[in-house]
Symmetry: D2
Subunit: 367 residues, 4 copies
Amino acid sequence: MSFNTFGRLFRVTTWGESHGPALGATVDGCPPGLPLTEADIQPWLDRRRPGQNRHTTQRREADAVEILSGTHEGRTTGTPIQLAIRNTDQRSKDYGDIATRFRPGHADIAYHLKYGLRDPRGGGRSSARETAARVAAGGVARVALAQLCPALKIVGYMLRMGPHEASRARFDMEEIARNPFWTPDPVAASEWAVHLDAIRKAGNSVGATIELVARGAPPGLGAPIYGKLDADIAAALMSINAVKGVEIGEGMAAAALSGTENADEIEMGPDGPVFASNHAGGILGGISTGQDIVARFAVKPTSSILTPRATIDETGAPVEIVTRGRHDPCVGIRAVPVGEAMLACVLLDHVMMHRAQVGEGPAGRIG
Amino acid sequence: MSFNTFGRLFRVTTWGESHGPALGATVDGCPPGLPLTEADIQPWLDRRRPGQNRHTTQRREADAVEILSGTHEGRTTGTPIQLAIRNTDQRSKDYGDIATRFRPGHADIAYHLKYGLRDPRGGGRSSARETAARVAAGGVARVALAQLCPALKIVGYMLRMGPHEASRARFDMEEIARNPFWTPDPVAASEWAVHLDAIRKAGNSVGATIELVARGAPPGLGAPIYGKLDADIAAALMSINAVKGVEIGEGMAAAALSGTENADEIEMGPDGPVFASNHAGGILGGISTGQDIVARFAVKPTSSILTPRATIDETGAPVEIVTRGRHDPCVGIRAVPVGEAMLACVLLDHVMMHRAQVGEGPAGRIG
Amino acid sequence: MSFNTFGRLFRVTTWGESHGPALGATVDGCPPGLPLTEADIQPWLDRRRPGQNRHTTQRREADAVEILSGTHEGRTTGTPIQLAIRNTDQRSKDYGDIATRFRPGHADIAYHLKYGLRDPRGGGRSSARETAARVAAGGVARVALAQLCPALKIVGYMLRMGPHEASRARFDMEEIARNPFWTPDPVAASEWAVHLDAIRKAGNSVGATIELVARGAPPGLGAPIYGKLDADIAAALMSINAVKGVEIGEGMAAAALSGTENADEIEMGPDGPVFASNHAGGILGGISTGQDIVARFAVKPTSSILTPRATIDETGAPVEIVTRGRHDPCVGIRAVPVGEAMLACVLLDHVMMHRAQVGEGPAGRIG
Amino acid sequence: MSFNTFGRLFRVTTWGESHGPALGATVDGCPPGLPLTEADIQPWLDRRRPGQNRHTTQRREADAVEILSGTHEGRTTGTPIQLAIRNTDQRSKDYGDIATRFRPGHADIAYHLKYGLRDPRGGGRSSARETAARVAAGGVARVALAQLCPALKIVGYMLRMGPHEASRARFDMEEIARNPFWTPDPVAASEWAVHLDAIRKAGNSVGATIELVARGAPPGLGAPIYGKLDADIAAALMSINAVKGVEIGEGMAAAALSGTENADEIEMGPDGPVFASNHAGGILGGISTGQDIVARFAVKPTSSILTPRATIDETGAPVEIVTRGRHDPCVGIRAVPVGEAMLACVLLDHVMMHRAQVGEGPAGRIG
């Protein structure tokens, strides 16, 4: 089956191929009465847009979003919001070889085996271009969250590029917007620029780790057992192209800890419980505690590279493939706004689910 | 909202609390005509059952499953299968303190904040005991998979306990059943026994990493974009108690690789494509390729420990908590059969989804 | 596929066969903190219980509900509520013929064709006994509605039995509880008693129409376009065994009206809009208006009758069938509490969906 | 909540308002490899298109469908199919009064109460124009059904207009395409033309009944208990604008029958069971039997009429309303292709669900 819908109450259905006439997102379940125009969404798309510097694909897409339904006089009506983005830069000639040869590490071969056919132009549905629709939907989610959880602030940044990791000791959140890698470590930004230039010149690509933090999320978000907040975040992030791992709080490193090291001790603060540490990443038992929600995900290196690779074609014959065209040498860079958008959608969905079952605000108090 | 149902077509709804009269799973959507009795399910529950050696909780539960519906004369009828497990060992007196004090690292405080009340006996719904229902449901999934994918074999094992990692150089899959840690590395098993004895005596606990491998899965399983096989596996594993990270193939380490290192080159084998490596963990673009599907997850250390921890109670007063009772010092051990069960459920679900959309077998051929 | 779950947020999964060990309902998504014990549910089951008078099946079932999970100290915890009912009166010998011969008008043949096998004892899953689980779930829904919509009152009654229709001119709602047919028309009750005695003695059965009214439902319930309140009510009622038609307000008779006859004129009352009539049955555009919600459904006559009928057996041979055993001559009688239960579940589901998207109460005001 | 998605595996999400820039349907889950271009869909839209004769609204819409995604070189790829229809005839000035005054019988007041605002232009989301998207999606479903169930034939026709009912004695299925009312009774067609002229001149409107027949549907479609084929058909038809009643087979009239009258006796035919009658409408226990599937629905008279009606405005003041503009005097006419489209979508969905659980074809055989 094909399941292009994400979310339980705030539901996003993305559609469209890289080189088709358009792609977009149908956003259903949005609260009514919210101020919403294209201007609320476009800035997020602009952050993800390719071709803004030498470190991302040189494909030039305006990525201009158009709201086709669901608003009236600049306010959401509670009906489905259709967000459409026209594809304008479609140099299909760039993609000759890949129509019949399978790129190692790419979805090509899997789509072929599953469906018996695929849209090879630009990766079709499996193109990173699909994430533009997610970012647009995330823009709507942010507008709703601004009203329902005004204290909430979602921020994403790159932690690692290939062998080079950013240092938390150097973090300055103001830096994120100042470098092309969305990293709070200015030293890492410089190192990565050099590294990525080399990678690009070598016709290679590189992976990345992105961290997301949601500050100010109310406690009580989450739905045991199979709608846990962390399980939904994991699905949301793992659904992004090229993602191979997802972590909450300590993540995989939690396996190495002892119970005394891992458990975050609790004390009473002026507005509720305060935790001595945040190994949990803000989520216990699948439910938010009011601490920062911290998630990370790893993006593998782009599989479309200029270095020749051994593969087969649709007849099974051994061939070599070189993927020309305009590909991101580090697709993780543009995954930062995508991860933020997915987290925004998950959080809004859980705010609405909580409101459905429990009402406004958490039901329990301490003190 | 509460979402206790997992799966799209093969749907498992678990219910029940640690110290209530019973817990279980309602399994809906199972194919009809399959041979199924309690004897097909009980062995999997026995693997997870506590108290089988000194390394797991000494709580004694028979974990005897009873099929209350959905079969007739030993065959599934296609209607919902109710799998019930009576709780027999309920020493509620063991849980005095935790009724009003919040264990650091435990779901207690989150349930309290969300719902305003909780069943404190044995952790209530957030108890690891809930996973017995998952294992029972997984037993049903395995019966269906044996018929629909006879070549499929799912195996799980422990890779790491705290600071000690197993060595792949020493892996012998026959070893898994011979040691209490389900590890294919016999040397690690010996080391972990010593380590865990020390941890237990210190009133502490420890985390673990578990790896799951599905060999013989057909290509074509998976459902872009939000029903990707890896996204569903991620959600399934992250929904297990105490899991903080999920990886597919290279997982988080993919971030450190270059494109030439990461992409698995393809050649033609006698029965279809063969890959030179498996960094992808058997999944490309969210769809299985026919390679081994490889997933890992990290389990944090048990939060219920004998070492005193600083916390607050329901009035907000600072208190100390010591969790007596019979807790697993390494809950990751019993997570092995739970992870296998979740993977079985996800794979069956996707086999059925594929059959719905595309029919029997993958649609595309190579060669 | 098998879909034994009903509802979007307040989700009810029923399970169990007529003559298996037990049947029940897993109720997920219930608001927390509600007072709930078996005593809140049993009275609704008692209304549906067979064998209370000569007009229903003489099968004797205690239909005693047991809450196996989801409550603590008499309050809902927000986790799944397992409602189990043991089957106690299983005279399987009564069902000899029907194991291999198909009853005309019964689900037997359809289950056989679909699944290749079925549980023939007492109709298995397609038995009217399955509706006990619905009534139990409806009991939970009523407890939640009592808190969320205290003004809401749901009542069901029989309007027609075979050729005999009740007269609205004689309606007295106090009468409903006083006769075995749940009808507000005492004259009809007398006529139907005579008619049903004759039907039963003739080894025949008869159909019925049931009307449901929900008074005091808030305006704004409903979810265009495919989650309309009336569409969800239609699905809920049509899912009840033996139901062949569903109407809202004027129902099928709306086809015969003109626009001036049908549209309910509006004026302003002290608490909001007031309508001059209720052809709409309280629902416009799939959304409740605050008027009485009025639905009707038709129940076909029981197909298990003593009169011999021509049919075939599993080999295709022509045979005659006479269904002995203890069947309801008018299954519509016991459908009254079932219809009420389904309406309660649908309304609660929509109250929660509205709260999720819009918040507490309707968003719009008039005047 | 807003639920604009219909279907379980073949999922249709409609979006768009009557007078917005466009409307459409996102069709997810379609089998891959099907031949599909706009030419496969447009003919169904043309049947529903307004302004083709004097009996429907004179609004002139081309209703030209554009496929924006999900196909490649004229074949479905298994990914979401975006069907967009631009709105071209938007005389918003026609709708002055209704922006603040509530039309009796119309969704206006319900949307206002629920959401606090609405798009008043042309009825916004509650316009009959939304059904164009359903018809487009139904066109895709028909292409899939042509491959998966080549023997299946779906036909719809009008049975009643206001007081005038067609006579089955005069039915000639060839007539359906020859008159503007899609009725197989040529005499009724003449009578209705006269009646509707009078209604239109009187500034009034009239209701209608539509019957749908699916011939050649395989046995075994349907999913007990809450995914019964008839329950899904009921929801699908009741979700269409202005529908107030739904019937399967005998429908509401089943209430008046006895068991001997209602049950369809069975004999063995050359290709399987044959039934002596079809009171069941082809569905028993929620599962198709192989007989014709017969459903009916009633459409209320259009609420937008020229005859003045008493109502209130948004301030609660009593006012009169006259709805000018170009409205269908009998919206039931154009509901014929809409009903067919919904039935096609439901049947395809169940064909896919059956294949998922049971495999190709029904599992059981007789004889």
